[in-house]
């Protein structure tokens, strides 16, 4: 770098650039926060779905699964599982775990009662209604 480009110039670019782009980011965040409800008009965040989200979190589901592509990559995407499999399949699956098939990846038994299973399904239904700009590319997630 040339001698005319001084440390204080570099420092000013750092402070000015960081503050400028952080302010833009804040503005975009305000806009996004306001746009989220209308962008996701079809997503019904019911009380059951809120309770289901707590079950999702306290069973560490994202330790193995992805939800809209985020989480772990050990087990299937669940953001659209409500559409792919339907509510009864999900509940039956949860009750049947673990499969204990030798060598297969195993999912723990979480011992959820019927009301908790309904809440979890309500949360997965809500997840499937989020407007993901057409992600994933196909139903397999």
């Amino acid at each position: 770098m040339s001698a005319s480009f001084t440390k204080s110039t570099a420092r000013n670019i750092f402070y000015g650039g960081s503050v400028f782009f952080f302010l833009i980011f804040l503005g975009l965040t305000v806009d996004t926060t306001m746009a989220v409800p209308s962008h996701n008009a079809k997503a019904q965040l019911t009380d059951a779905a809120v309770r289901g989200k707590k079950i999702w979190e306290t069973r560490n589901c994202a330790g193995c699964h992805t939800l809209i592509g985020e989480g772990a990559f050990f087990a299937p995407e669940l953001g659209n599982v409500y559409v792919r499999r339907g509510p009864e399949f999900i509940k039956g699956w949860m009750k049947a775990m673990p499969t204990n098939v030798p060598g297969r990846r195993q999912m723990p038994q979480f011992n959820l009662n019927d009301a908790q299973l309904d809440d979890l399904v309500a949360f997965l239904k809500y997840s499937s209604q989020i407007n993901t700009n057409n992600w994933p590319p196909n139903i397999e997630g």
């Binding site: 650039g17 962008h39 306290t58 989480g71 990559f73 087990a75 990846r105 139903i139």
Partner: protein, 475 residues
Amino acid sequence: MSNATVAALPASKATVNDQIKYRSQAVAKPYFVAAIGLFIGQILFGLIIGLQYFKGDFLFPAIPFGTARMVHTNLLIVWLLFGFMGAGYFLIPEECERELYSPKLAIITFWVFLVAGALTIVGYLGLPYNVLAHLTGNDLLPTMGRGYLEQPLITKVGIVLVALSFLFNLSMTLLSGRKTSISIVMMLGLWGLAIFFLFSFVNPNNLVLDKYFWWWVVHLWVEGVWELIMGAMLAFVLVKVTGVDREIIEKWLYLIIAMTLITGIIGTGHHYFWIGTPGYWQLLGSVFSALEPVPFFMMTVFAFNMVKRRRREHPNQAATLWALGTGVMSFLGAGVWGFLGTLSVVNYYTHGTQLTAAHGHMAFYGAYAMVVLTMISYTMPLLRGREANSAAAQKLEKTAFWVMTLAIVGITLSLTAAAVTQVSLQRLSASPLPFMETQQHIMPMYWARFGFGLCFFTGLMMYVTSFFVTGKRES
């Protein structure tokens, strides 16, 4: 220092060590030792989950995949934090040309953090996660069960208190000392780390907003403020080992971190393509995150340039190797592998696949693990009373560098091959296969990844052994 302050230092450090300029810098040593210990734990759990990828019932139900993965990622974060803190306690007094404000507080903070971290891991392994959540106050304020932020509420509060104690100690040191660019950038990075961690307490019921602000911790850490910490640590070591004029190094540092934040803040948008946020993020996120490799490339050029222009031959060649290595590997891992999946048109197919895992492994190792190891490599000999380790010890450390680094390249390439297979069979195919069926086709890549994982562990053991190698000291 008062007698009480001296008494607070580790016993062996109370004797005179003429290699460190300020005696209170010795508090860094237990932080580095803990960092390496937790690093070993991280890799052991990495091996468990790497094995579970192809032998699915391994250790089930004692340690299910989700639990082991949580231990793997949380130990990663905690050992890097120990490394950053050790680096801060060493670097800030030296740059500020004065003793640490309170070495005693630093030692107390160390034990609080270590015990809290250990109890959290014991909780993960010993209790069902929902029971742990219930016992630790998650019903009061639900924050658990989100990637990297799985810690119980009381642990999160503990992390904030530890961070405040650490930042108070360093800030008080800085305020009454010499203020260099390196120390100011280090402090900005560390304060940013603490401030953005506060978003781990933000967990809206709305899943879109939950995900939106989750990235304010995860992205604004690793693709934002952590790069300031990394840049400051690298600059500090380069000043020491090359003897290049500080003005030049600090000019580079400012320019690199300017590019980091100019690209990286709006670059957060590459996580906002599909999570229920407006479509404009696809353009913004693609453009800005495509520029995120620039600061990492500058980091590489910076490290090589400074070493080439060195004005002294520092006897610690291992530290120089780590400094060059972190420049290259952070560019490859964070820059190149990050770019592979960052454009929205590509990300549509790669989002949530093994490509993310490939990028994550090389980026975390190349940028953050390696910069902490750079700092440890430079400071530990000094903290142990010598300018550099013996030739034999350095030789083993350099071999460990190559084994670990090549193993990470192997892991990354295996996972990239896994990702290519996964994307083509499950995402691109006209008749897409289900997830688990696709996984069956990826098994050879998972075997390969595990093999490279064993190589990595071997390299890590060589690295640890290098601390115990004596031999003739170089003049």
